[in-house]
Every structure is written in structure tokens, then in C-alpha cells.
């Protein structure tokens, strides 16, 4: 695998039956070869020294259908946060193949030029029967004293060997967007049980720019008063699905928990909530087109005595959002929107070490909303 401006060193020995001592040996030999080859082990891509770097052990079980899509993300993660990367493909190996492994490295040219910064990679493959051996294999290869981060890209909480990896990890990153619609609360309850300091949902991380821009919209004293008289919130996401994606639920739950709203029911227009000053309707709908079930627009209206009408629209990977204010006066402006690539979201979460009470509150409120949503 070679990605533009990235260089992958693959040990020439290829995949072999798993043996921890031999794998460490392969890694050492790979660096020896890279150090002695004037052209570099990547056939000339190198220009300058090779630096082996590791800030974490990054353990990534990959669902085979998702693997091609996520591989470039992992390459980008190692650029932003060099790690010893364990990529796990459990199950696809032929029956009887048992546990196999191969080594390699993912290297990135330094921004200032002059050499490559490399993350070691150990790829583990297993047949179905030997998947339970994966945790012990990884345990034997972890770099001591570095945190272990489990990036769980499997669609669900998974089999026992995943549970074992979760116990082993200092930090677990999950993505409720990968779950079947309606099953997100299972993940959020798991997160609450394990503690939001140790388990993070990447769906929440995607909301950071939305939460920032919403906070900014209401920062002014005059606008702040309107938070108390909000009567309608409408969120639009891309795609045709009837069931809103997790980030939309979490943002709705966040607004509800921050503003003290209670969910009371559902009508044809959406969910019915109640604030201390009156009713609030919450509508969530797909655009019917586009990909990815991504939040694209939020429209908030507040009533007298503090009328307010604002619509925030953000598309794709744009780094600004259009904020249209209709009341108390009309104005349109482009506001910075901290869109982050997926790898940046992941690394941002790796750097966050605190418990996440706003997320826990938002998830509880979202789950309550989902119950009302499903009643009709």
C-alpha cells in the first residue's frame, strides 16, 4: 500500500504464523535494512534519515468490508500521531490458517523535508477459530509504558476477544455511526458504564464544530436571552434515511440537556419537548439525496419576548458555514467552521483525557428522544 507522500516499508518475509519473538525480530531487521540501504527500503522515496516514532499502541480491528475505506484514514492517523499500529483482520483467513502476522511501517515525509517519520505496523489475520488468540498476541507486542488505544471499527460491541481488547486498552474509541440505526443507545450505555474518560464516541467528536458555532451564535447578550424562548429546532441531514444518524441525535440531546428541555411526545412534525417557558418542536429529516447521513443544516426559531431566527448551513468539508440571521434583524455571514478530517477527529479524541459529562448528558437525552420517536 503506498499513499501519495507516504511510504510503506514492508518486511520482505511476508505473512508468517504468529510468533511474538519472530515478529519483534522482523521489526528490528526491517529497521536495520532501512538504515543500511542508501536508497531506503522503499526504493528511493527516502531522502534523509528515518525516524521511528511511537506515542501509543494503536489497536484497530477492521471489518473487512470497511477496511479499504479506513486504511487511508489509519495512514493519516499515524502521520498525526505516530504509533505502533496493530491492524486486525479477524476471520477472513482460510480455515486452519490460525493466527498469522506480518510487519511493516508507514512513513511520512517530514513537513520540513529531510527524512521520514515512521510508525511500525503489525498486521494480524486469523481464521474464525483462532480469533480468541488475538488479544494475547497483541499483549505480547505492546510497547511498554505507552498508552494502548483501541480504535474499534467493528459494527457493534462484538465478540469476546473484542471485550478482552477493550479491557486491555487505556482508551477505547468507538463510532456509533457504524451501528445499525436504533442500536446507538447500547453503545452510549456502554460508554457511560465504562466512563466517558476511557470510552469516546467519534460521532460526538464530529459535532465539535457544530457545538462551537451554536455557542458562538448565542454568545451575544441579546441572543443569549433567546435561548430561553426557543420554540422550534429543525435539523437536516444528507441521505434518504428516515432514522436520523447518531450525530443528529447527539446534537439534539445536547441542546435538550444544556437548555433543560424534557421530551414529552411526538407529532407528525417531529418530537415535542417542553422548556421552562413553553413548548419546543424538534424536527429531524433527511434531504433525500447525498451520501453519508451527515448533518448539514440547523434552523432555530425563538419566540417573543426575544424573537430570534437563525439558520446554519454547512456542506461537506468546507471550513466555513453560512449563518443566516432573520430575526431580530436580517444578516448573512460566513463563519469559521472547524471541520476536521476523520483522522484529525480520531487524534483529537486520543488527546482528550477528561471525562465528558456533556456527552453523557446528551446521550441520555438522545436515548429518551429515541424512545418517543419509536413509539409511533
Amino acid at each position: 500500500m503506498t499513499v501519495q507522500e507516504n511510504y510503506v516499508l514492508d518486511a520482505p518475509d511476508g505473512s508468517r504464523p504468529f510468533d511474538a519473538v519472530a515478529i519483534e525480530g522482523d521489526l528490528k531487521n526491517m529497521w536495520k535494512r532501512a538504515g543500511h540501504s542508501p536508497a531506503g527500503a522503499d526504493g528511493g522515496a527516502r531522502n534523509g534519515a528515518i525516524y521511528r516514532a511511537a506515542l501509543a499502541n494503536l489497536v484497530v480491528p477492521l471489518d473487512p468490508p470497511l477496511a479499504p475505506k479506513l486504511a487511508p484514514v489509519l495512514v493519516d492517523v499515524t502521520r498525526r500521531h505516530p504509533s505502533r499500529l496493530f491492524s486486525i483482520a479477524a476471520g477472513p483467513a482460510p480455515r486452519g490458517a490460525k493466527l498469522r502476522a506480518r510487519t511493516g511501517a508507514i512513513c511520512h515525509r517530514r513537513e520540513s523535508g529531510g527524512g521520514l517519520v515512521c510508525s511500525e505496523q503489525v498486521v494480524l489475520e486469523s481464521d474464525g477459530a483462532s480469533a480468541d488468540l488475538i488479544p494475547s498476541a497483541i499483549r505480547s507486542l505492546l510497547i511498554g509504558d505507552l498508552p494502548t488505544v483501541l480504535l474499534n471499527f467493528l459494527p457493534g460491541l462484538g465478540p469476546p476477544w473484542i471485550d478482552e481488547l477493550m479491557e486491555m486498552a487505556d482508551l477505547v474509541l468507538v463510532d456509533s455511526c457504524l451501528l445499525e440505526p436504533g442500536r446507538e443507545p447500547e453503545m452510549w450505555r456502554f460508554l457511560e458504564r465504562e466512563g466517558s474518560r476511557r470510552v469516546h464516541d467519534l460521532a460526538w467528536a464530529r459535532l465539535i464544530p457544530w457545538r462551537a458555532i451554536l455557542a458562538e451564535v448565542f454568545d451575544g447578550k441579546e441572543h443569549l436571552l433567546a435561548l430561553g424562548t426557543i420554540r422550534a429546532v429543525e435539523m437536516t441531514f444528507t441521505g434518504a434515511a428516515a432514522f436520523p444518524p447518531p450525530p443528529v441525535w447527539l446534537l439534539a440531546g445536547w441542546l435538550s440537556s444544556r437548555l433543560g428541555w424534557k421530551t414529552v411526545g411526538r407529532d407528525p412534525h417531529g418530537l415535542m419537548l417542553r422548556s421552562e417557558t413553553g413548548p419546543v418542536t424538534l424536527a429531524m429529516r433527511g434531504t433525500g439525496s447525498g451520501e453519508g447521513r451527515v448533518l448539514e443544516r440547523i434552523h432555530i426559531r425563538a419566540a417573543e419576548p426575544h424573537p430570534f431566527d437563525v439558520e446554519i448551513h454547512h456542506r461537506g468539508r468546507e471550513t466555513s458555514a453560512r449563518v443566516t440571521l432573520r430575526a431580530p434583524r436580517a444578516a448573512t455571514l460566513e463563519s469559521p467552521f472547524g471541520y476536521s478530517e476523520f483522522a484529525a477527529c480520531i487524534v483529537g479524541e486520543i488527546h482528550r483525557h477528561a471525562a465528558n459529562k456533556p456527552m453523557e448528558d446528551a446521550a441520555r437525552a438522545a436515548e429518551d428522544m429515541m424512545k418517543h420517536w419509536s413509539k409511533t
Binding site: 498525526r80 451554536l214 440537556s257 469559521p336
Partner: protein
């Protein structure tokens, strides 16, 4: 009951409940950077590359504009082309095309008030066209002699708005001033008074790019973000502190300025004093601008004021003579182009400084800086006291060196700790070994450029990494005693050192009385 932070009908006294600490995005306001001295070296080498990288990384607001102002006649197009040479070659990249749209130019002389009125009209047009709400950052990338006319004309033309109490609701104006902030205490006070005629203190960002370096910021994180170091950070455990800012370059086209400043004003009064304060300061109450700067100012207040006798004993000034650097012959300072052949300007300064407070009483701080030294290196070395009892002496074995903690500012940014370890074998030998942390190999990336960080901070209104008026004046107050003694006393002669060495032997003598020596870099 409403949950914590919930909004009721009359939330007058409440904070925004949607504003959480966890949302820490640094969103820059749209503004116009007005760079005075736009055809100069600083603009080419530092400012435009830093602004370009910020733009490329989407950290500048999409509507932000940059206006260059200098004497030279450029069109916008010619200015853009000239600036492009400082960031890329070959055909223009898409990133550059986007950045170039932000760039404008206005020719003018700093003393010409009419040029500032015309600049005001241009700014109005750009702001209207790009939807910038009047926010302006004035950058003085000029020799200090131009600060006075610049400030007067900005004020007279009404280009800057004086800060209101609630800056969020009004267009803001800020000014970035490059060091040196004056050449002595009186001129620093005069400059501050002048700038204050137009700008309030919180609008003034005195830039010392050293403070924007990641490793300098890491001094505080290292000290105060870890449990193990701060308890040792005092005279009970620390024997001495050495701070070195060594340059291999000479005056490099800055002879006219350097002849009037010397290394004492160019580096010692600014960079070195900042490194000293960050090393010696008490933990601030909060990590925000005024708390941090209050503590730095306190250190400057407790510096032992040197008498003329102490200046003669505890400071060394020197000038480089011809030598060789990295295998290449190097001229002496007086042979450099533009330097007076009889110059008495110092290119090297070393000092033994005492911080008269509870924490540091009795701990000497040795500071040295110089041009054309053997290596380019900046570091702070904390030397710890030896163990109270030498357990291994009976085995014929001495601990060879004290433990030294090195904070490397540049190059190879990082931190290392040296300690003694038994070398392998039957006999008991203790050898010094190192534990190293390098930014590059740990984080896989080089620290970002200091100017990027500081320009963004100014845009965000965060002045933590900029010098405050009292810091600057206190540093000059300390320096003035040394400079006055040097100029008045024949007991402070100019020493000499060959280019490419580590300075004059007189500087080594500062440490001899302490049974010590300058650490090898």
C-alpha cells in the same frame, strides 16, 4: 428544577450554557493585517510564510485580508509575485492562489500623514468588499526608529479604534511591535507612552518570537503539568541554572542596527530575560495572559540589582575576533561589512545573576549569549545538587557529574535528563547516561513556527505569549545598571574570543568559583 446551566426566561446574569470548556476551537475573527515594512526582510522571511501557512491550514478567517505598506512602489500584483517567492517556486499552487486574493499593497512613507489617510480609504474598501467588520492588526515590521511616526500617523488618520470595555461587540484594533522595545529604560518608557496615546495596553502585542516557540511554552507545561519536577524546582535541590542562546551567524546585513544595540540589547534584554522568567517564575493562579505575566514580572522585580562592582565581577562582554567556524575561516566582528573598524559593540555577553526570593536564594543563574559561537543552540540547563553522601566512594568510584536537566529550545527541540548509571562489568564504574525526549521522534512532527502561533494568538486576542509593559520596563531597569556600568567603568573591558569558539576565557571564570563550568552543547 432545571439542570445546571439551564436557561430560564430571564437569564441576564447567566453565562451561555452552550459554551462549554470542552469546545476549545480557536476561531479567528475576520480582520485586516496591515504590515508596515512590507518590503523588508522580516515580512519576506517570517510574516508572509507564517500567514500563508495559517491560511493553508484554514486557521485564518476566510475573509481576512493582508495589506502591505512600504516606501517601495508596487502594484497589488507585483507585491503578490514578490511575496510568492518567499513561500514557493514553480507555478502557483491552488493554496497560493487562494492566499494571494487576500494580499493588497499600499505604497507610502511612514512620515507622510497623507499616505495614512489614503491607506484608511483602501482599508475601508477592502473591509466593505470582504465583509470585514473593521477589525485591524497593525504590524510594525520596521526599524524601531519608525515606531514613533507610525503610531502618530495611525492615530492621526483614525485608523485604530481604542479598546472599549466589551471588545467582543465592537471592531477591534491591535498593534504588534517587534523587539527591541527601546534601547534603555527611558526610551522604553517613552515608546510605551507614545503607543499608549493610540492603543490601550491590552491592544499592544509586543512580540518576542522566542515566546512562540513550542519548547519555550513547554517549559511551563513541563514544570507545572508534571508532579515530579516542581517539588525539586528550588534552591534545596538545584545547584545552578545555565541559560545559553548561541548563534553561529554574525550580523548578517544588520550591522547598522547591531552596532547601536549589541548582543546585550538585541538578545540578552529580551530573549534571555524571557527564558529566565519562565524558568524562575512561581506557578500562576490561572493559565491566562495576566496571571502568567504577573508572575514573570515578579521574577524581574526580584533580580538582584547589580552595583558597578558587581557588574565588573559578574558580567563579561566580548567581541569575536577572526577565527574559523565549521572548518571555514570567519572574519572578526570589526572586519564584518558595515561595522566600524574600531567598534566597541559587544557580540558576546555572559552574566551571573541572582534571583533574590525564597525559592532561588543562593542559586546562581549563569546566562550567556553570543554571535559566531561554535554551534547554534539554545538551552536551559538545570543542574541539581549532588547527593549529600557519596556512598560509592569507598568502592573507588565517584559520581562523575551532577544530574542535569536540559530543556533544548533549538535545534533538536526536546528535553534530556542526565544521570549516573553503573556501566556493565565486574567493577563498579558509574558513567553519565541520558534520557532523551525529542519532539520529532515522539510527536512525529517538527514544532510549528513561532510566528504562526503568535500571529494567530494576536488575532484571537490572547496576549499570554507577548510581553507586557511592566515586564519590558523591569527588564530594562535591570539591564540599565549593567549598561551604565560598562560605559562608565574601565573595570569592564571588552574581552575577545575567536569566531567559532564558545566565548572568552573570562566567561569561564564566572563559574570557576562555583567549581563548575559551562555545559558542553
Amino acid at each position: 428544577m432545571s439542570p445546571r446551566g439551564a436557561v430560564t426566561a430571564e437569564p441576564e446574569a447567566r453565562a451561555n450554557p452552550l459554551r462549554e470548556e470542552s469546545v476549545t476551537l480557536r476561531a479567528a475573527d475576520p480582520c485586516t493585517f496591515i504590515v508596515f515594512g512590507a518590503s523588508g526582510d522580516l515580512t519576506h522571511r517570517k510574516l508572509i510564510p507564517a500567514l500563508f501557512r495559517l491560511s493553508k491550514r484554514k486557521l485564518l478567517h476566510p475573509r481576512t485580508a493582508i495589506v502591505g505598506f512600504a516606501r517601495r512602489e508596487y502594484t497589488d500584483e507585483a507585491f503578490r509575485e514578490e511575496m510568492r517567492a518567499s513561500v514557493e517556486s514553480g507555478p502557483p499552487s491552488p493554496d497560493w492562489e487562494r492566499f494571494a486574493e487576500r494580499l493588497h499593497y499600499h505604497p507610502g512613507v511612514f512620515e507622510d500623514h497623507l499616505a495614512f489617510r489614503s491607506l484608511g480609504r483602501l482599508l475601508g474598501e477592502i473591509e466593505a468588499k470582504r465583509g470585514i467588520p473593521g477589525n485591524r492588526i497593525f504590524y510594525f515590521a520596521t526599524p524601531p526608529s519608525e515606531y514613533a511616526p507610525l503610531t502618530r500617523n495611525i492615530g492621526a488618520a483614525g485608523l485604530a479604534k481604542r479598546a472599549l470595555r466589551d471588545e467582543r461587540s465592537a471592531p477591534w484594533s491591535r498593534v504588534i511591535i517587534e523587539k527591541p522595545f527601546g534601547r534603555d529604560l527611558q526610551s522604553a518608557r517613552d515608546l510605551n507612552a507614545l503607543v499608549h496615546l493610540v492603543f490601550a495596553e491590552r491592544q499592544i502585542f509586543r512580540i518576542d518570537h522566542y515566546l512562540g516557540k513550542e519548547t519555550v511554552q513547554n517549559i511551563l507545561v513541563f514544570r507545572l503539568g508534571n508532579g515530579i519536577f516542581e517539588p525539586l524546582w528550588n534552591n534545596r535541590y538545584i545547584e545552578q541554572v545555565q541559560i545559553t542562546v548561541a548563534e553561529t551567524v554574525g550580523v548578517e546585513g544588520r550591522a547598522a542596527y547591531f552596532e547601536t544595540a549589541g548582543v546585550s540589547r538585541d538578545i540578552f534584554q529580551s530573549h534571555m530575560m524571557q527564558l529566565l522568567t519562565l524558568t524562575a517564575m512561581e506557578p500562576p493562579a490561572r493559565f491566562e495572559a495576566d496571571s502568567v505575566r504577573d508572575e514573570k514580572a515578579k521574577v524581574l522585580r526580584t533580580l538582584h540589582p547589580m552595583s558597578p562592582e558587581e557588574v565588573a565581577r559578574d558580567t563579561v562582554r566580548a567581541q569575536y575576533s577572526p577565527g574559523a567556524l565549521g572548518g571555514t575561516p570567519a572574519p572578526g566582528y570589526r572586519q564584518e561589512p558595515g561595522v566600524n573598524p574600531g567598534s566597541e559593540t559587544e557580540t558576546y555577553m555572559a552574566a551571573r545573576i541572582h534571583v533574590d526570593n525564597w525559592r532561588w536564594s543562593g542559586v546562581p543563574f549563569f546566562l550567556r549569549t553570543g554571535k559566531r559561537l561554535a554551534k547554534r543552540a539554545t538551552e536551559i540547563a538545570i543542574q541539581f545538587r549532588q547527593p549529600p553522601f557519596s556512598l560509592f566512594r569507598s568502592a573507588g568510584c565517584e559520581i562523575p557529574e551532577a544530574n542535569i536537566l536540559r530543556l533544548r529550545i533549538q535545534p533538536d527541540e526536546g528535553i534530556s535528563l542526565s544521570f549516573g548509571s553503573k556501566s556493565p562489568g565486574q567493577e563498579l564504574h558509574i558513567d553519565p547516561v541520558q534520557m532523551d525526549f525529542y519532539y520529532l521522534t515522539s510527536f512525529g512532527q517538527d514544532p510549528p513556527d513561532a510566528y504562526e502561533r503568535l500571529l494567530l494568538d494576536c488575532n484571537l486576542g490572547d496576549s499570554t505569549l507577548f510581553a507586557r509593559r511592566d515586564e519590558v520596563e523591569l527588564a530594562w531597569e535591570f539591564m540599565d545598571r549593567i549598561l551604565d556600568a560598562w560605559s562608565a567603568s574601565p573595570r569592564s573591558p571588552m574581552a575577545a574570543y575567536p569566531a567559532g569558539t564558545w566565548g572568552p576565557p573570562e566567561a569561564d571564570e564566572l563559574l570557576h568559583g562555583h567549581g563548575s563550568h559551562w555545559h558542553r552543547l
